[in-house]
Amino acid sequence: MPNKDIKLVSVPSPNFVPERDLGKPLVLEVSHLGIDFGGLTAVDDFNMAIGATEIAGLIGPNGAGKTTVFNLLTKVYQPTRGTILLNGKDTAGMNTIQVNREGIARTFQNIRLFDSLTVEDNVKIGLHNSMNYHMYHGILRLPKYWKEEKAAHEKAMDLLKIFDMEDMANAKAGSLPYGAQRRLEIVRALATSPKLLLLDEPAAGMNPSETAELMENIEKIRDTFQIAIMLIEHDMNLVMGVCESIAVLNFGKIIAKGTPAEIQNNPQVIEAYLGAKKEED
C-alpha cells in the first residue's frame, strides 16, 4: 500500500483539490514520472495529483511533452521512472488495455475514430467491456445477444445525447465533420465508464462558439458522471475557464502549478510562452 505521507512529500507544490473532493481519495497521483527515448529525456520528474471530480489542465509550448504525459498515463509508452497511482493502485506493469479497465479513458490529438464504423458502433466499442455475452451468443443469436445489444443501443443513444448527436447515430464516423469527430471521441471515451478522462486538445480546430459549447459540456460531463478530467489545450480561454488547477510543462518538466489566476501571473510561464524579456525593453 502506498504511504500517504510520502505522497504529500513527493508533490512539490500544493495541488488544488476542490472543496467537494476533500475527504475523497485522489483519483490520480503521479510521482517522479519520467521517460527517456534513447538519450533524450522527454518527460522528467513529473508530479501531479488530481482530485476525484477535479478538472485539471496541462499546458505548455509545442513539444513540451504534454501528449507524452498522456501516453505514459495510458501506458502507450512504459515509463522509465516514477509511479502512477490510479485510485491508490499502482499501474506499474499494466498495459493500455488494463489501464483503461482500471478507469483511464482518453481522446487523441490526431483524432482516432473507427472510421468505417457508424457513430453508434464507435460508442458501443466503448461499451464493449461492459457488455456481457459470448461469441456463441452472437453467432447463434441467442436471447442474451438481443437483450445485451438492446441495452447497449439505449446506453449509446443516451451518451450521444450529451452532445446532441443522436441523429447522427447511423452515419459513418469517418464522414463526420471535424468538430463532431472530436465530440464523438469524447463520447466513446465516456462509454468505457472511466474515473479519469484525458482530453488531448479537445478544442483544436473548433470555432469560438463551438469552443464555448465544449466548455459547458466539459463541466456538464464532470457533474453528470462525477469523474475527474485532465485536459491538454492551447486555447487559453478554455483552460482558464474550466480548469480548477493547471500544470505548465516546458522541456518535459513542470515549471509551474496552481490555480488559473496563479498561472496567469507566473513570470516563468510567461517567459516559457513568450520568451525572456530583453534587457532594453
Binding site: 495510458t74 502507450v76 498495459n95 493500455t96 488495455i97 483503461n100 479497465r101 479513458a105 482518453r106 487523441f108 482516432r112 475514430l113 473507427f114 472510421d115 468505417s116 464504423l117 458502433d121 464507435n122 458501443k124 466499442i125 466503448g126 464493449h128 467491456n129 457488455m131 455475452y133 461469441m135 451468443h137 452472437g138 453467432i139 447463434l140 443469436r141 445477444y145 445485451e148 445489444e149 466513446r188 471515451a189 462509454a191 468505457t192
Partner: protein, 354 residues
C-alpha cells in the same frame, strides 16, 4: 430493416437461388458434365473466399497461406472418413464428422500459427502466413498415413514403414501422391449447406460484439486498445474462425475426389482465393460469393481460347484491378453516379411540380 440485415438475407437468397437453378439443371440434364463437376468446387471456393474475407476484409490482415488450412482440413477429413468407413456406414453422417474434424484440426493449426504470427504487422504477417502455407504443404508431402485393424498408423518416412497389416491395411495418405482411394461422399446439397452455415457464422459474428471489436481494431489499433479491447484476442478469433471454416471446406473438397495431392493447396491456391476476395471487394461478402463463383468457372468458359485461357485470365485480372482502383477511373464513375442521381432527382421534381 437495417442495411446489413438486408445484405445478409440477400446473400442467403443468392445461394439458395444458385442451388435451385443448378439443381434443376442437373436433374433435367441441361448442364454440361464439366460444369456439373464444378458445382462442389464452386461452393468450396465460396467458403474459402468468405472465410479469407473474415481475415483480410474484416480483420484487415493480409494472409497468403489460406490454402494451408484448407489442406489441413482436407487431409484430416480424408483420414477420418476412410478410418470410419466401416464403423459409420451412412455417407452423409461420415461427411459431417469429417467436415467437423477438418474444422477442428484446422482451427488448432490456426491457433498454433496465429499466436506467434499475429504479433507481426502488415507485410511481415503476409510473408509469415505464406511461409506457414509452404511448411504445411512440405510436411504433407512427407506424411504417410494408413489404417488397419489395429487403428491408424503414421510415418514421415515412406509407405513401407507404416507397417500395415497386409490383409486389413489401407494406405490413406501416401506422401507426395497425396490422399488416395477416397470414397466420394460430398454432394452438391451438402456443399450448399456448408456455404449457408459459413454465411451464418460470419455474418452473425461480424454484426455482434466480437465482430464490432475486430473491425474497430482494424480501423485503429491504438484507439481500440485505449478503449480496453484485447487486440491480440480478437485478431486471433478472426484468424482461427477463418482457419476452421477453411478446414471444413477442405474436407468437403477432398471428399469430392478419389485422390488429392498436397500440391493442390500450394501458394498459387492461396493467391487464387485472395484474388476472389480482392476482386469481390475487400470486406464485401456478396462480392466474395460472386467473384469466387465466376472465377472458378471462368477458366472453363475460356476453354474456347484453349492455350490462351490462362493468359486471358491474367489480362482480365490486371485490367479489372486497373479499372477498379485507378484514381481517374474512380472519379469518372463517381461523376457518372452523381449525374444519374441529379437526373433522377430532376425527374422526381418534375413529377411533383406537375
Amino acid at each position: 430493416m437495417k442495411k446489413h440485415t438486408k445484405n445478409s438475407f440477400l446473400n442467403y437468397g443468392i445461394i439458395i437461388l444458385f442451388f435451385v437453378i443448378f439443381q434443376t439443371l442437373v436433374s433435367t440434364k441441361h448442364i454440361s458434365n464439366s460444369l456439373q463437376g464444378q458445382l462442389i468446387p464452386i461452393c468450396v471456393y465460396i467458403v474459402m473466399a468468405l472465410s479469407l474475407n473474415l481475415v483480410v476484409g474484416i480483420s484487415g490482415e493480409l494472409s497468403l497461406g489460406h490454402a494451408g488450412f484448407m489442406s489441413v482440413g482436407a487431409f484430416s477429413g480424408v483420414i477420418v472418413s476412410t478410418a470410419l468407413k466401416h464403423s459409420v456406414e451412412n455417407g452423409a453422417l461420415r461427411l459431417l464428422i469429417a467436415v467437423i474434424v477438418g474444422a477442428i484440426i484446422a482451427s488448432v493449426a490456426g491457433v498454433i500459427i496465429g499466436i506467434p504470427v499475429l504479433r507481426l504487422r502488415g507485410d511481415y504477417l503476409a510473408i509469415v502466413t505464406l511461409a506457414f502455407g509452404e511448411i504445411i504443404k512440405n510436411f504433407l508431402n512427407v506424411l504417410y498415413v494408413g489404417v488397419d485393424a489395429k487403428g491408424l498408423h503414421f510415418s514421415l518416412k515412406d509407405e513401407a514403414s507404416l507397417g500395415l497389416d497386409i490383409a486389413t491395411g489401407t494406405t490413406i495418405v501416401n506422401g507426395p501422391m497425396g490422399a488416395v482411394g477416397i470414397t466420394k461422399i460430398s454432394t452438391f446439397f451438402s456443399a450448399i449447406i456448408l456455404v449457408i452455415v459459413t454465411l451464418f457464422i460470419i455474418q452473425n459474428l461480424v454484426y455482434s460484439r466480437t465482430g464490432r471489436a475486430i473491425k474497430a481494431i482494424r480501423d485503429n489499433r491504438i484507439a481500440a486498445e485505449a478503449c480496453g479491447l484485447n487486440v491480440t484476442k480478437y485478431k486471433l478469433v478472426a484468424f482461427v474462425v477463418s482457419a476452421a471454416l477453411a478446414g471444413s471446406a477442405g474436407a468437403l473438397y477432398a471428399l469430392n475426389y478419389s485422390t488429392v495431392v498436397p500440391k493442390k493447396f500450394d501458394f498459387n491456391t492461396s493467391i487464387l482465393i485472395l484474388v476472389f476476395v480482392v476482386l469481390g471487394g475487400i470486406g464485401n461478402l456478396t462480392g466474395s460469393i460472386i467473384a469466387a463463383a465466376l472465377l472458378t468457372v471462368l477458366p472453363e468458359l475460356l476453354r474456347a481460347f484453349s492455350d490462351y485461357r490462362m493468359l486471358v485470365y491474367a489480362i482480365v485480372l490486371i485490367l479489372v484491378m486497373l479499372i477498379t482502383n485507378n484514381e481517374k477511373a474512380r472519379i469518372l464513375t463517381t461523376e457518372f453516379k452523381y449525374r444519374l442521381k441529379i437526373k433522377k432527382k430532376s425527374i422526381g421534381n418534375k413529377e411533383v411540380s406537375e
